[in-house]
C-alpha cells in the first residue's frame, strides 16, 4: 500500500482490463483520445510514479510537437510512394517523363506531354519565322531545364469579357435611359392658357392631363410629377394667397402638412411658397408625396402652382418649374 511509487525505469505495464475500482473515478477524469502521434504511455508495476514522463499518455495538454525538420519528409522524396492527402513530391513522376505514354486518370492526361526532342524519324518542326511568336526560342526544351518564364499579360484576359458585359449593363441602365429619354420626343403641352388671361409655356416633357379634379385650372404631368396651375384675380399679398391655398389643399387632402412660408421674387414676379408632405390614399392615386405650393402675384392676378410627386423625386423638376414661372404672362 505504501510502497514507493513506480520509477520511470520500471514503469508499470498497462492493464488489460478495467481496474476494479474504476467506478470510483469520474468519467470525465478519463483522458481523451490521444492523438495518433502520441506515444502509448504505460505504467509498470512496482517502484514509484515516473519522474519525468507520465505513464499514461494524455490528450489533454501536451506540449506541441517540435516542428518538422527542415527539408522534405520522406514521403516527399522523388520515387517514394505518394500518400493520400499529401502533396506530390518534387519532380515529375515516371509516367510524366518524356517518351512515357500518358496514362488515363493521371494528372495531365490529355495535355501535351513534356517538352522533349522530336522523336527519331519524325519531321522536324517548321523553321521559325521572324516575327512569329516564339522566334528566337529553342524549338524544344530539354527535360530538366527550367522553362522560360512567360511574361504575364497586363490584364487577366479571361476577365475582359465579363467586365465589359458588366460595364455595358451599367451603361445601359444609366446612359441608355438618358439616351432613350432624349430620343423619344417629349410631347410638350406648349403654350397653355390658364384661366382667361394667363399663359405659360410648358417645359419640355410636360403634358397636359385633363382630369375632373383640377379645379378649373390646368394639370400638367411629367413622368410621375404632377403640376396643377390655377389663376384667379386677387387683390391681396402673395403671402395671403398662399395661406388661402394651403387651407384649400388641407380641406381637400386629409393628411397634409406644410412647411414654413418663404417669400421672394422669381423672374420678376413676387412669390410666396411652402413645401408640403402629403399622404394620399384613393382611387386616383396613393402614396406619400412631397410637394411645393407656389403663389405668384402678377398685377391683380395670382397664379398658384401646386407640384407634387413621390417622396424624393421633387428635385428633378425644379428647373422646369423655374422656367415655367419665368414664361408666365398675364394678358391685358
Amino acid at each position: 500500500m505504501s510502497s514507493l511509487p513506480p520509477d520511470a525505469s520500471n514503469a508499470p505495464q498497462p492493464a488489460d482490463s478495467e481496474p476494479d475500482d474504476s467506478a470510483a473515478l469520474p468519467r470525465w477524469a478519463v483522458p481523451a483520445v490521444p492523438p495518433p502521434w502520441a506515444g502509448t504511455g504505460q505504467a509498470a508495476p512496482g517502484g514509484q510514479p515516473p519522474a519525468e514522463q507520465p505513464p499514461v499518455e494524455t490528450a489533454a495538454v501536451q506540449p506541441v510537437q517540435a516542428s518538422a525538420p527542415a527539408g522534405p519528409p520522406a514521403w516527399a522524396q522523388p520515387g517514394a510512394p505518394q500518400q493520400f492527402g499529401q502533396p506530390a513530391p518534387a519532380g515529375p513522376p515516371a509516367w510524366a517523363q518524356p517518351g512515357a505514354p500518358q496514362q488515363f486518370g493521371q494528372p495531365g492526361y490529355g495535355q501535351p506531354g513534356p517538352a522533349g526532342p522530336p522523336p527519331w524519324g519524325q519531321p522536324a518542326p517548321a523553321p521559325q519565322q521572324f516575327g512569329q511568336p516564339g522566334y528566337g526560342q529553342p524549338a524544344w526544351t530539354p527535360a530538366g531545364l527550367a522553362p522560360t518564364v512567360a511574361r504575364k499579360p497586363l490584364f487577366d484576359r479571361q476577365k475582359w469579357l465579363p467586365t465589359v458585359v458588366v460595364a455595358a449593363v451599367i451603361a445601359g441602365v444609366v446612359l441608355g435611359g438618358i439616351g432613350l429619354d432624349k430620343v423619344i420626343a417629349a410631347p410638350s403641352a406648349g403654350t397653355v392658357n390658364v384661366g382667361d388671361s394667363v399663359t405659360i409655356t410648358a417645359a419640355p416633357g410636360w403634358n397636359r392631363v385633363d382630369t375632373s379634379d383640377s379645379g378649373g385650372g390646368v394639370e400638367l404631368q411629367k413622368a410621375n410629377v404632377q403640376l396643377t396651375i390655377a389663376a384667379m384675380p386677387y387683390s391681396g399679398t402673395a403671402g395671403a394667397a398662399l395661406l388661402d391655398a394651403e387651407q384649400s389643399l388641407t380641406s381637400d387632402t386629409a393628411q397634409i402638412s406644410f412647411g414654413d412660408e418663404q417669400d421672394g421674387t422669381m423672374s420678376g414676379h413676387v412669390t410666396a411658397m411652402a413645401g408640403f408632405e402629403a399622404i394620399v390614399s384613393g382611387s386616383s392615386g396613393s402614396g406619400t408625396f412631397d410637394g411645393e405650393l407656389i403663389c405668384v402675384l402678377d398685377g391683380n392676378d395670382v397664379v398658384e402652382f401646386v407640384v407634387a410627386t413621390s417622396q424624393g423625386d421633387l428635385s428633378g423638376v425644379v428647373d422646369d418649374l423655374k422656367a415655367m414661372i419665368a414664361s408666365l404672362e398675364v394678358g391685358q
Binding site: 511509487p5 481496474p19 473515478l25 468519467r27 483520445v33 490584364f155 458588366v166 399622404i279
Partner: protein, 548 residues
Amino acid sequence: MSSCVAPTSPSQAAPAPRWGVQGSLIQPRQPAFWLFLALLGIGGYLFVDEQSTFSQLPTALTLSWGLVLLYAVPVVLIVYGLDLFEREPKLMLAAALVWGGVIAVSLAGYANDAWLSVLGKVAPADFTADWGAAVVAPVTEEILKLTGVIILFLIVPTEFDGVMDGFVYGAMIGIGFTVVEDVSYFINATAAFGGADQTGPVIDTFLIRVVAGGLYSHVLFAGLTGMGFAYFVTRRQEAFSRRLLVFGALVVAGAGAHFVWDSPWMMSVLDVAPGVDKPSTFQWVEYGLIKGLPFLLLLILMVLFATRSEEKNFRAIVAGEPDPEVITEPEIAYLGSLWSRRKARSAAGRIRGPQGSRLTGRLQAAQVEYAMIRSRSDTLTDPALDAQRLKIRVIRAQLVAVQFIPVAPAAPMAAGPYAAPSMTPATMAAPSMAPATEPPLPAGPAPEPVATAAPQAAAQAVAQPQPQPAAAPIASAPPAPPIWAPTHLVPPGGMAAWNAPDPSRPAMLNLPERLELVVESRAGAWAQVRAVNGWRGWVDGRRLVDRG
C-alpha cells in the same frame, strides 16, 4: 472518449474552401478593378457635388448623417457578425459600402429620372404617377447594386466561397446605398419645408424611412440578390440550370420586395381619423410589417441556409484533425450561430465568471482562426497549425485554471438548457481538459475510456444524447468542502494519477497541467490529492508544484 472531429473521406465531402487565403481588393491585373476605380471617380464626383449642395442646410445635414449612422453602424456590425466563420477582408467590405453609397446611388439618381421620364412618355399618365417609382426604381437600383457584387467577384473571385459571401457583400452595398439615399431624403424634406426648421422634417422622415421601414430597405433587397449571385457562382457542384433558377428567383425576390415597398399598395393602413394630420409611428411600423415582413422572413431563411452551408464548409476544413483538443463536434455546433456562441460564453460566465466567458470567446476565435490556417495549409504538420493548436491548448488550460464560482447544490443547472448532462456544478469542476467536459462548450458527453475510443464513434456518441453518464460517479463522490483552497498544481505536461498508492496497478488517468489540487496526505513519495469536485487520487507527490 473525446469527441474529436471525425475525418471525412474525400468521396463524402465536397472540397473544402480555402478560407484562409484572403484576396486583396487591389488587383491591377483585373479589368474589373479599373472599372471599379473609374466608376468610383464618377460616382465620387457626383456624391461630393450633392453633399456640398446639401451643406447649405448644415444642421439638417449633420443631423441626417448622425441619425443614419446610428442605424447603419449596428447593421454593419450585425451583417459582419453573421459571417460567422470566414470574415471578409475589410477593404472588400469597405469597397462594397462605397459602391452602394457613392457609385450605385449616384448613378441611380440619373437612371431613375431618365427612365421615369421615358415611362411618362410611353405609359398613361395615371399609371406613371401611381406606379412609376415602383416600376423603375427596383429595376435600375437593383441592377446597379447587383453589378457591384459582380464587380467585386470579378476582382477577387476567391472571396466568394459560399452563399453567405453574396449576402454580406450585397447587404453592405445595400447599407451604403440606403444611408446616402436616406440623407438625401432627409435634406429634400427639409428643403421642401423651406429649410427654416432643420430638425423636424429630418426626424419625421427618419421615423418613416428608418424606424418603420429600416428593416425592409436596400439591405434586404441587395442581400437577396447578392445571395442569388453567390449561389450561382459558388455552388458549382449543382446543375447549371438549377443554379440559374435559384439566381433568377432570388433576384426576382429582391427586386420584387423593392417593387412591393415602392408600390401604392396597402396605403389604407396609413389612413388617419378626421382631425389628425398624419399617421402615427405605429401605423408606419404596421405598414412596414405588412409590406416588408414576408421578404424579411425569406432573407432570414436564406441566411440560415447560408450559415448551415458555412458550418458544413467549416466542418469539412477541420475534418481529420488528429488532435482531439483542437475542436470537437459539440464545439462546431456551438460555433454555428452568433446565438449559440453567446450562449456558450454565457454558460462559461455563469460557472467561471467573466474571465471564463472571455476565455471561451478567445477559444472560439482561436478555433475559427485554426480553420482559416488549416484551409490554406497543405499538410497537417504545418508549423502555423502547430502554433494554433498550442494556442488553443493554452486557452483551454487557462480556462480550466479559472476558479469556479461556487454553486449551491440545490440550485438548478447553472449552465442553462444547453448544458449537457455532465454539466452539473460538480462535473464542471472536473480535473480533465477533455473538451467535451469543458463548460463553455458544454454539449458533449463525458469522455469515454481510451480503450474504447474511436473518432467516428465519438462523433456518433456526441450526436446522440446520453443518459447522464457522469451522474452516477459524481453523485457518489464526497461533497466538496465549502472552501476550496488548493495547495498544489499539476506540473507542466500533466501527470498520472492512481486510485491507490499501489505501484502494481496501472495509472488510471492523466491530470492536465495547471490543475489545482489539495494534498490531503502523503505516504512516502505518494501524495493523496483532491480536486475541486471532490475527486481523490494518488500522484507522485515529488512532481507537484507548490502554489506557494
